[in-house]
Amino acid sequence: MIKAILVFNNHGKPRLSKFYQYFDENLQQQIIKETFQLVSKRDDNVCNFLEGGSLIGGSDYKLIYRHYATLYFVFCVDSSESELGILDLIQVFVETLDKCFENVCELDLIFHADAVHHILSELVMGGMVLQTNMNDIMARIEEQNKIVKQEAGISAAPARAVSAVKSMNIPQQIKDIKLPDLPQAIKDLKF
C-alpha cells in the first residue's frame, strides 16, 4: 500500500499532496515538512530509500523518492510494495506528466495542481497501484479531457477568452513588439 504521495520543490513548498490515510491539515503540513527535511539533506548520488519519518508510517514504512530538477517526488509505502517497482512507478508518473504537459516543469504543476491530481488518480487509486502502462494511462486521460472539452463547448468560449486576456502579460508583450528598424527602413527607401 502507498500511504502518501508528496511532491514538493527544493524549498519544501508543496506542489502536490495526496494522503491515502486521513491526517488533518496541520499534521499533513508537518509531515510534508519533516519529509522535506529528511529528503533534502541527502546528496543526489545516494540511494533513493530512507526509513519513514516519525510522523508518517513507522518501521514498516519507507520513503522512496526521486529528485527531478527542482522537484522531489516522494512516495511513502509499506513493505508490501517493491522498492524498485515504486521507483519505476515514479518514473512513469513523471513521464506521463511530461507527455500531458509537453516538457513538464514545476510551473505546470503549480498552475495545474488539479490536472496533476487527475493524472495521478489514473496511476494510483486509494493507495494501490492501478495502472502502470503509460499508453493505457494516456488513453484514459485523453478520453477524459475530451469529455471535459465537449462539456465546456461553446459556453466556455467567453471564459476562455477572458482567461486568455488575463494571462496575457501586456507590458512584456509591448516590450516584445518588434518595430521595424526605421532608420534602416528610411535608408532603404529608394527615391
Partner: protein, 1060 residues
C-alpha cells in the same frame, strides 16, 4: 430572468479562477496568509451563489488551498453539491476535493450514499471511475456496507477500466466492512483469470494485501498463483505474486520446496533487477521456512548470497541498499554464508551514503565473533569520532552496545575491555541520547560479571571524579546514576573508599534522581567505612567520618528536589544517631578509661545494622518477570477489602479477565517444583494463616507461598546460597538459560594498572594484547610469557570446573576471560523466550484483524471446514443483499437474476456431472467457461481430496474429474498454443490420479518446471524487445532545456524502466 442569468454568466468571467488564485498567492509571498484569508472570503461568497460553475470554480480553489494546509471541511456541503453535478468536469473537481478533505468519520458522508450509487451505475464509465477513485479515499463503514453490492456488480462490468477500479475498491470495502469479504471472494478469485491484464493485476494486488495480514486463509489459492507466476510476463504482477509467496511459504513448507526451482530459474533469467530482488527475497523466505532437508539447499543460499553480492557491489546505491537489506534476512538463519562476505559488508561501513552505512550496521550484528569483536568495535569507535550527524552517531553507539551485549555478552571475552569501551563512549565529546542505555549496560555488567567488579568500581570512581555535565542536550549524565550505584553497592571492592566517598559528597549540579542515588550510596559507603573502623577499633576515625559526612550532607539537605531532601535528611538522622552514641561514649570512656574497646556496644549495633541493610547479593531480574508472577493462592483480587457498596456488584468479567492476563495462576504454575526448596524458608509464610483452614490446606498454601516467594524477585532471599541453590534446582525450568553458578575467578590487577597509564585509546590496548596472545598461541610456543595468556589459561581451568558449555568454540578463538552470570530471577514456568509478541504485534485498530475470515477456497487440508464455510458464504451473500435500499432495487434485481441464471447453470452442470457436492466445492460460483478451465484442472485434485474424505461420494468422484480434464484438454488444443502446456496438463492428470494437490506432486515437479523454462525463454525475449522499445521512447521523450527556476524541465532521462 434571462437577463439575470446572462449577467451572472458575465460576472462569472471576472471571478478568480484557480490560475488567478495561484498567481495571486505567488505575487503575495510576503503576506500569503492574509491574501488567502481574503480569497477564502471570496470563495464563501461564490459558494452562496446558485450557479454550479461558480461553485465548482470555488471548490477547485479550495482544493488548492487545502494543500497549503488550510482546513476546508466547512465547505463539505458545497463539495457534495459539486460532486452531484451532472457535468463530468464538475463531478471530477467535486470528488477530488472530497478525496482530499473527507475522511471516514465525516458525518456528511451519510448524505452521499445515493449520489455515489447513482454515479457508480452511470452510463459513462468515467463518471463511475471518478466516483470510485474519490470513494477509495474516504469510504466509511456505512458507505462500504451500503455500496458493497454496487461495487461488486461493477467487478463484472463489461469495461475493463471499471472492473479494475472496482476490484481495487473492494479491498477498501473489506477493510471497513469485513462481512463483505466472504460473499465477494469468489468473484475476486475469478478476476485472477480475467482476460484483461490490468484487472488481473488488480486482483492479485488485492489478494496480496489481504494475504499479507492473514496468509493462512489464502494458502489454498497457491496453485492458481503458481500458474500465474509461471505464465505471466507482467513484471509488476510477478513481483506481487512472488511477494505473496514469500508470505505463504512459512505456513506451508511443501509450497516452498516447489517454489525454489522456478524462482531460481527466474533469478537466472530475468534482467529486471526489481524482479530479481523479489525472487531472492522469496527464496530467502523459503529457505528460512524449510531450513533443512533440502538437497540443493546450500546451493540456493549460495546463489542468493552471490547475487546479493553482485547487487552490493553495484555502483547503483539503490541496489547496494537493497542487497544489504536482503542480506540481513539471510543472516538470521544462515550467518555462516553471510560471514563469508564480511569484507564487503565492512567496506560498506565506509560508504558515503548514510542509509547504506546503517544497513551495513544491521548486518554487523551477525558478523562478530569472539575473535573480531574488539577490532570491529574499534572501527565503530573510529566512525563515531568522525560521524557528523548526531542521529548516526547515536545509532553507532547503539550498535556497539548491541553487538557486544548480544546473547548475554557471548562474544565479549574481556570485560575490562568492554567497560573501558563503555567509559570511552561516555567520554566522547559530542555526547549522545543513549546515556541511559550505557548506564544500564554498566549496571548489567557489574552485576552479572562478579570478577570485573573491582575493575568496575575503580573505573567508576574515576568517572565520577572526572565527568563533567556539559551540554544539556544529551543525556549522558545518566551514567552517573549507574556509576554511583556501582561504587556504593560494591563498596567492598574499592581500593580507596574514602576518596570515593568524598567524590560522591562533592556538591555538584545534577538532576534530582541522580543526587538521590548519590545520597543513598553515600550511606552504603559510609556503612562500609564505619565497619572498617569498627574492625580497627578506630573511634576517632569513626567520629571524624560521621562529622565529615554530616557536614557534607547538608548540601543535599537543601536540595530543591523532594526525593533528595528526604533521603539526605533520613541519612543525616541515621548518622546523627550513631554520632550521639559515639559522643556518649566519649564521656563514659572518660569515666571508665580502662575499657579497651573505645566503641560502645550500641554504636556497634547501629553500624552492624546499617551494613546489614545493604548486605546480600543482587541478581538480575528478567524484564518480564514481574508480570509472570503467579497469583498467590490465598489472594483473591476480586474479593472486597471492605464490604462492597450496596447498590451494585461490579466484580465484572473484565476484572477477572485482567487477572488472568496479569498472573499465571499459582496452581497452574506450581507443578512439581515445590520439592527443590522445601523448607528453605522455614516459617516465613506462617504469619497470615486464618483460623478456618484445615492443616492440609495450610500445608498446601504454605508450599505454594514458598514457591511463590522463591521466585518473587521482590522477595528478599535469606541467603545468597539459598538463592543460587534454588536457581540450580530450578534449572530445568529455565528454558534457554545457561544456568551458570556464580564463580569467583582470580584476576591479577597488574595488567590493569599498567593500562591506566595515560593511553589515549585505552581499549586498543586490549586488542593488541589479544592479537599478541593469539600470535603466541598460533606459534605453539608453550611459554606463558604474557600475562593475558596465563589468565586465559586460568579461566579455561575455571571453565572446566563450572562446566561452561563452550563446545562450539573453534580452536583459534580467544578464550573468555570472564564469565557472565546469566542466572536471571524468574518466576517458574516462565522462559525468557516467552514473548508478548502476540500482544505487541496486534494493533487493536488494525482492520485486518476483522478480515481474518476463513474463505471457502477448495481447501485440501480441511474439507469439512471449507464445506461449512461455503454454506456460510451463501448465507452471507443473502445477508448482504438485505440492506440494499429500495432505490437500487432494479440493480439488485438484475443481480439476483444473474445469480439465478448462474444457479441454473449450476444445476445443469450438476445434472451433467451427477456430482453436486464436489462441483460446489470446486467453486461456489460457476465459472464462465473459457478462462475457468485452467484452474478447474488445478482444483480437481482438491475436489478429489475432499471427496475421498467424504466417504459417501468417493465412488462417483472420478467422473467429474475426467470430464473437466477432457474439457481442459480440448480447450487447450483449440488454442493450440504450446505443447509444453499439454505436458503440464498431463502432469496435472497424473497428479489427479495420485489424488494430491499440486503441491504434493513432488516427483512430477521437475517435468513441470522443465516445460516452464521453455516458455520463460520466449518471455524473456519478448520483454527484452519491449524494454528496448521503451528505452528508445523515453530517450526521445527526455528533453533538457535549461531555463530559469521553475521552468526547468524535470529532465526525465533516467530510464530505469524495467518493469513496465
Amino acid at each position: 430572468m434571462a437577463l439575470k442569468k446572462v449577467k451572472g454568466n458575465f460576472e462569472r468571467m471576472f471571478d478568480k479562477n484557480l490560475t488567478d488564485l495561484v498567481r495571486g498567492i505567488r505575487n503575495n509571498k510576503d503576506n500569503e496568509a492574509k491574501y488567502i484569508s481574503t480569497c477564502i472570503e471570496e470563495i464563501k461568497q461564490e459558494l452562496r451563489q446558485d450557479n454550479i460553475s461558480v461553485k465548482c470554480n470555488a471548490v477547485a480553489k479550495l482544493t488548492y488551498i487545502q494543500m497549503l494546509g488550510y482546513d476546508i471541511s466547512w465547505a463539505g456541503f458545497n463539495i457534495i453539491e459539486v460532486m452531484s453535478s451532472s457535468r463530468f468536469t464538475c463531478k471530477r473537481i467535486g470528488y477530488l476535493a472530497a478525496s482530499q478533505c473527507f475522511h471516514p468519520d465525516s458525518e456528511l458522508l451519510m448524505l452521499t450514499t445515493n449520489m455515489i450509487r447513482k454515479d457508480l451505475n452511470s452510463q459513462n464509465q468515467y463518471d463511475a471511475g471518478v466516483a470510485l477513485s474519490g470513494l477509495s479515499c474516504f469510504i466509511s463503514p456505512d458507505l462500504s456496507r451500503d455500496l458493497a453490492n454496487d461495487i461488486m456488480t461493477l467487478m463484472s462490468s463489461t469495461k475493463p477500466y471499471l472492473r479494475m477500479k472496482a476490484v481495487l475498491m473492494m479491498y477498501k470495502v473489506f477493510l471497513r466492512y469485513p462481512e463483505a469479504l466472504r460473499p465477494a471472494f469468489p468473484k475476486l478469485k475469478e478476476k485472477l483469470e480475467d482476460p484483461d491484464p490490468g484487472v488481473q493485476s488488480a486482483a492479485v494486488n488485492v489478494i496480496c494485501e489481504l494475504a499479507r495480514k492473514n496468509p493462512k486463509n489464502y494458502l489454498p489459492l497457491a496453485p492458481i498463483f503458481f500458474k500465474l507466476m509461471t505464465t505471466s510476463t507482467n513484471n509488476w504482477m510477478l513481483i506481487k505474486i512472488i511477494k505473496l509467496f514469500g508470505a505463504l511459504t512459512p505456513l506451508e513448507p511443501r509450497l516452498g520446496k516447489k517454489l525454489i526451482e522456478p524462482l531460481t530459474n527466474l533469478i537466472h533469467s530475468t534482467s529486471a533487477m526489481s524482479l530479481l530482488y523479489e525472487c531472492i527475497n522469496t527464496v530467502i523466505a523459503v529457505l528460512i521456512s524449510i531450513s533443512s532437508g533440502m538437497p540443493n539447499h546450500s546451493a540456493s543460499i549460495q546463489l542468493c548470497v552471490q547475487k546479493l553480492r553482485i547487487l552490493i557491489e553495484d555502483s547503483d546505491q539503490n541496489l547496494k541498499y537493497l542487497g544489504l537489506l536482503a542480506m540481513s534476512k539471510i543472516l538470521k538463519t544462515h550467518p555462516k554464508s553471510v560471514q563469508a562476505h564480511k569484507d564487503l559488508i565492512l567496506a560498506c561501513l565506509d560508504d558515503k551514503d548514510e542509509s547504506i552505512r546503517l544497513r551495513a550496521l544491521d548486518l554487523l550484528y551477525g558478523m562478530v565473533s569472539k575473535k573480531n569483536l574488539m577490532e570491529i568495535v574499534k572501527r565503530l569507535l573510529g566512525h563515531m569520532e568522525r560521524a557528523e550527524g548526531s542521529a548516526y552517531r547515536d545509532e553507532l553507539l547503539y550498535k556497539v552496545i548491541e553487538i557486544c551485549g548480544q546473547s548475554s555478552y557471548l562474544y565479549v571475552t574481556n570485560f575490562e575491555w568492554y567497560l573501558t569501551v563503555l567509559v570511552e563512549l561516555i567520554q566522547l565529546e559530542a555526547g549522545s541520547r543513549h546515556g541511559r542505555l550505557i548506564a544500564e549496560q554498566l549496571l548489567d555488567v557489574a552485576i552479572r560479571v562478579p570478577v570485573v567488579r573491582q575493575f568496575a568500581v575503580n573505573e567508576m570512581t574515576n568517572l565520577l571524579d572526572t565527568f563533567t555535565v556539559s551540554a544539556q542536550s544529551n543525556s549522558m549524565y545518566e551514567v552517573l546514576y549507574a556509576a554511583a550505584w556501582i561504587v556504593g553497592e560494591f563498596a567492598g571492592e574499592l581500593e580507596d573508599a574514602e576518596r570515593t566517598l568524598n567524590i560522591l559528597l562533592r556538591p555538584r549540579q545534577l538532576p534530582g534522581h541522580i543526587q538521590g542515588v548519590y545520597v543513598q550510596n553515600v550511606i552504603k559507603l559510609f556503612a562500609r567505612l564505619a565497619t572498617t573502623c569498627l574492625e580497627l577499633q578506630d573511634l576517632p576515625g569513626i567520629v571524624r567520618l560521621c562529622d565529615h559526612v554530616l557536614d557534607k550532607l547538608q548540601h543535599f539537605n537543601g536540595s530543591s528536589d523532594i526525593e533528595v531532601q528526604e533521603r539526605a535528611s533520613s541519612a543525616c538522622m541515621l548518622i546523627e544517631m550513631l554520632r550521639t552514641q559515639l559522643t556518649a561514649t566519649d564521656e563514659s570512656a572518660m569515666v571508665m578509661e580502662t575499657a579497651e574497646s573505645g566503641i560502645p556496644p550500641l554504636a556497634i549495633e547501629i553500624v552492624q545494622e546499617m551494613t546489614l541493610l545493604f548486605a546480600g547479593e543482587l541478581i538480575p531480574v528478567a524484564p518480564k518477570a514481574q508480570r509472570k508472577v503467579p497469583l498467590p493462592d490465598g489472594l483473591d483480587l476480586d474479593e472486597w477489602i471492605n464490604a462492597p457498596p450496596p447498590e451494585d456488584n461490579p466484580s465484572s468479567s473484565s476484572s477477572e479477565h485482567d487477572k488472568e492476563e496479569l498472573f499465571v495462576s499459582a496452581s497452574q504454575a506450581g507443578g512439581g517444583t515445590a520439592m527443590g526448596h522445601d523448607g528453605g524458608h522455614g516459617g516465613a509464610g506462617k504469619r497470615r494463616k486464618s483460623l478456618e483452614l484445615t492443616p492440609e490446606q495450610m500445608e498446601r498454601q504454605r508450599l505454594a507461598r514458598l514457591i511463590e516467594q522463591s521466585n518473587n524477585p521482590h522477595y528478599l532471599k535469606s541467603t545468597n546460597a539459598s538463592a543460587s541453590a534454588a536457581g540450580a534446582s530450578n534449572a530445568d525450568q529455565y528454558d534457554n538459560i545457561d544456568d551458570i553458578p556464580i564463580t569467583e575467578l582470580p584476576l591479577d590487577m597488574d595488567g590493569v594498572a599498567a593500562l591506566r597509564v595515560g593511553v589515549t585509546k585505552r581499549s586498543d590496548k586490549y586488542l593488541q594484547d589479544q592479537q599478541a596472545a593469539a600470535a603466541l598461541q598460533g606459534g605453539g610456543a608453550g611459554k606463558d610469557g604474557k600475562k593475558k595468556h596465563k589468565k586465559s589459561k586460568k579461566s579455561k581451568k575455571a571453565k572446566n570446573k563450572v562446566a561452561y558449555n563452550s563446545s562450539s568454540e573453534s580452536e583459534g578463538e580467544p578464550k573468555p576471560l570472564h564469565i557472565v552470570n546469566t542466572t536471571l530471577d524468574m518466576p517458574e514456568g516462565v522462559s525468557l523466550s516467552d514473548s508478548e509478541d502476540k500482544d505487541g504485534k496486534y494493533d487493536p485498530n488494525d482492520p485486518h484483524r476483522a478480515l481474518d475470515i476463513e474463505l471457502d477456497i477448495a481447501d485440501f487440508e480441511a474439507p469439512a471446514a471449507s464445506r461449512s464455510a461455503s454454506k456460510k458464504s451463501k448465507e452471507g451473500k443473502e445477508n448482504l443483499k438485505v440492506p440494499a435500499e429500495p432505490a437500487t432495487n432494479s440493480t439488485s434485481k438484475k443481480e439476483k437474476k444473474k445469480d439465478k441464471d448462474k444457479t441454473r447453470e449450476h444445476k445443469r452442470e450438476r445434472k451433467a456431472h451427477t456430482q453436486p457436492v464436489v462441483v460446489d466445492l470446486i467453486d461456489a460460483d460457476t465459472p464462465t467457461p473459457s478462462p475457468r478451465h485452467a484452474p478447474a484442472a488445478t482444483a480437481t485434485p482438491n475436489a478429489n481430496a475432499n471427496a475421498s474424505n467424504n466417504s459417501l461420494n468417493t465412488s462417483s468422484t472420478v467422473l467429474p474429474d475426467a470430464t473437466t480434464e477432457e474439457h481442459h484438454k480440448q480447450h487447450k488444443k483449440k488454442r493450440n498454443k504450446e505443447k509444453n502446456k499439454e505436458a503440464a496438463a498431463s502432469v496435472a492428470e497424473e497428479a489427479t490420479a495420485a489424488s494430491g494437490s499440486i503441491i504434493d506432486v513432488e516427483d512430477d515437479a521437475s517435468t513441470l518446471v522443465a516445460s516452464k523454462t521453455h516458455k520463460k525463454k520466449h518471455k524473456k525475449e519478448k520483454s527484452r524487445r519491449k524494454e528496448k522499445k521503451e528505452e528508445s521512447e523515453s530517450a526521445t521523450a527526455s528533453a533538457s532545456v535549461s531555463a530559469a527556476d521553475y521552468e526547468q524541465p524535470l529532465g526525465i532521462s533516467t530510464p530505469s524502466k524495467e518493469i513496465f
